[in-house]
Subunit: 423 residues, 2 copies
């Protein structure tokens, strides 16, 4: 029986009864003979409450102090979880990111894990304890200051520990049954996927599937850590995220894994920019200098009579003000006519490792959208993904139409469970 890393998110440890339920599952895993390392997030809304407290004090909290504040959340959940496990007669000890050896750079609020020196966790396992580790946090060894990893940090902690400890599997417990062929809140006939590759999961995550964060999947792929995304509210098998399995040929692989959607992007159009070499570089240098990551980019063919073109790109709408301010500051230098900003857009992505060898996927996608009366505003493709931008208020209809067109709808409705009803 090998080592299993389990990660529980905030909704799985929201209150004392939830913590006790999670403890029961952990104790059962331990009693089945496994070594168990648990990574835990802060309880329910704790992190938001701490952020509210900071905002009541100052609009500009120093990043170092913000990290000290926020890491209090996991301190509470991890010690309570250790107590709950001990109460079931299974020995457990909790460890901060520092104690667990999660070494990061010095970027407070968005630190990167550099290394995991898990000696203390290894020792705790050898001593027969279940090790509970605070997610989302590490230590900058130069200053001995606590750092936080930013969004999706707890998943990343779990995968990093699983890699460092050579775990059999890293189980990501959440409030859904796994990864679905589409968001079940929008597509009631969405199917749970039994298995996806890291590449597909990366594209799903990048395209708006919330169940796993991109960086966690990147980490898992790099270190070949099998992920098992499953519900903490049921005993069902979830979705396994792995390398492509040897011997499983293309023929047996489904062409399309799923349809992802993301309503959180906005579109910026730089109108009437001179169509000369270096224009696009100047636009995106200005945006990058403002710390904004852009997603899709489209440049229209220039109108011959004017020598001007339009450049459109999408970005997280939260970054809209930063990007437009940066572009306005270089308006004279770039010589464009005007800026347009549109946050009423939605992105739909069709994802599947089998796509690249099947011509006509894009045509079928565009046809399905046309038949549903949905206009396409931008298109972007990769080897295993096609993404389109639609009006925001048509996005959900678009997801359902595409899901049906590609034959992804589940045959048995009762196979679908979404959200947590406890048991």
């Amino acid at each position: 029986m090998g080592l299993i890393v389990q990660k529980y998110g905030g909704s799985s440890v929201a209150d004392a009864p939830a913590i006790k339920r999670v403890a029961k599952r952990i104790a059962e895993t331990r009693r089945a003979g496994h070594d168990v390392v648990v990574v835990v997030s802060a309880m329910g809304d704790t992190t938001d409450e701490l952020i509210d407290l900071a905002n009541a004090i100052t609009p500009m909290p120093p990043a170092r102090e913000m990290d000290i504040l926020l890491t209090a959340g996991e301190r509470i959940s991890m010690s309570l979880l250790a107590m709950a496990i001990a109460n079931l007669g299974v020995s457990a000890q909790s460890f901060t990111g520092q104690q667990a050896g999660v070494i990061t750079d010095e970027a407070h609020g968005r630190a990167r894990i550099l290394e995991v020196r898990a000696d203390r966790i290894t020792q705790a396992l050898a001593d027969g304890h279940v090790a509970i580790v605070a997610g989302f946090q590490g230590v900058n060894p130069t200053t001995n200051d606590v750092t936080t990893l930013g969004r999706g940090g707890s998943d990343t902690t779990a995968v990093a520990l699983a890699a460092a400890l050579g775990a059999e599997v890293c189980e990501i417990y959440t409030d859904v049954d796994g990864v679905f062929s589409a968001d079940p809140r929008i597509v009631p006939t969405a199917r749970k996927l039994d298995r996806v590759t890291y590449e597909e999961m990366l594209d799903l995550a990048a395209s708006g599937a919330k169940v796993l964060m991109l960086r966690c999947v990147e980490f898992a792929r790099r270190y070949h850590v099998p992920l098992h995304v499953r519900s903490s509210f049921s005993g069902r098998e979830g979705t396994l995220v792995t390398d492509p399995v040897e011997g499983e040929g293309q023929m047996e692989q489904p062409i399309i894994s799923g349809v992802a959607h993301d309503p959180s992007e906005a579109k910026v159009t730089v109108v009437g920019v001179p169509d000369v070499p270096g224009t696009a570089a100047s636009v995106f240098e200005a945006v990058a200098a403002a710390g904004v990551n852009v997603d899709m980019i489209v440049q229209n063919v220039s109108a011959a009579q004017t020598g001007l073109t339009d450049i459109s790109f999408t970005l997280p709408s939260a970054d809209g003000p930063k990007a437009t301010a940066a572009l306005q500051a270089v308006k004279e230098q770039l010589g464009y006519e005007s800026l347009q900003y549109d946050d009423q857009i939605g992105k739909l992505s069709l994802i599947g490792a089998g796509m690249k060898s099947h011509p006509g996927v894009s045509a079928k996608l565009f046809g399905a959208l046309r038949d549903a009366g949905i206009n396409i505003e931008m298109i972007s493709t990769s080897e295993i993904r096609v993404s389109v931008i639609t009006r925001a208020d048509q996005l959900e209809d678009a997801v359902r139409a595409v899901h049906t067109a590609f034959g992804l709808d589940a045959e048995e409705q009762e196979a679908i469970v979404y959200g947590g009803t406890g048991r």
Copy 2:
């Protein structure tokens, strides 16, 4: 301008407005040219709320995990306070007990400070920061585990840091104006004391004065750290606790500093115990083995015809069940007739460094109680203290009668401020 250590309790940082008010005072102290180290407790009822959470999980939380849980409280208050100070344009950094070098033994929940390795605090001060340190917590260097210091821990942290850093003064901010000649809630005419010696303060603390914990005063006396007990809600000078001042003769010292009271003790009487050598030793060995500290002890003269005597002692009433259980277990061995337990008692203590050279203090005390119709059940004296046990429901009347009899009542009623009304 030297170094000042300031300690703020939970009521001084109970919410965001309170934290901002405290930050203002700290910033003013810094701007006046002092180096400032601040020790802070958890906000308001945070610690109690965390204890409630643990109790909702298990009746027997492991001590190591309890310490991890409770130290989340200071993590929150210290980072918020650092943010609030930074927001006033004064640089501040917060430090956990571990980061501040508060080295303790391994006794979770009641750890003793062994050493303070304040290199990091010294460096922060040299870099121009105000250093905010979490009270109540330290680290066991053998295991790298966080420990808590138990009741009064934050005051002790402050005094230990003041001693290690050679601070000019350790200011203990609280919700009262200083140390009073009696509890102003019971004696409205109680006077604020401008200055008391460590010895007097020790006896006041041991006798029920809540404003400072015994161990903090012991620590301050050992390292000659001047304490200044004052209100965080007013700008008034409080009470200075120091060594006796050279050149201040007995004549100028008031005979009596104050009247303390403590309603939290209980009395155990071992009835009909054989009056032979070793009896008392056996009784108190049994009690000590149960981990109970006794306070006052009285043994009556034995009745000649029976050869039996009664031994009475007082103890914190919270320890009553433990002590009586321990004595019942050795009933046959001790050969006593019965046990009596009485938690309806109160303790009054008269304290003053000038007492030892003034005969008649005890007689005057007993006379005042007689005139007030109050019966004395036990008596205990030290060089600078006389304590008596009364009925619990007579304790407050006793305090007022003694306060008046020794001329302690303030002449100007308006000089008294008790409790926090903010400003």
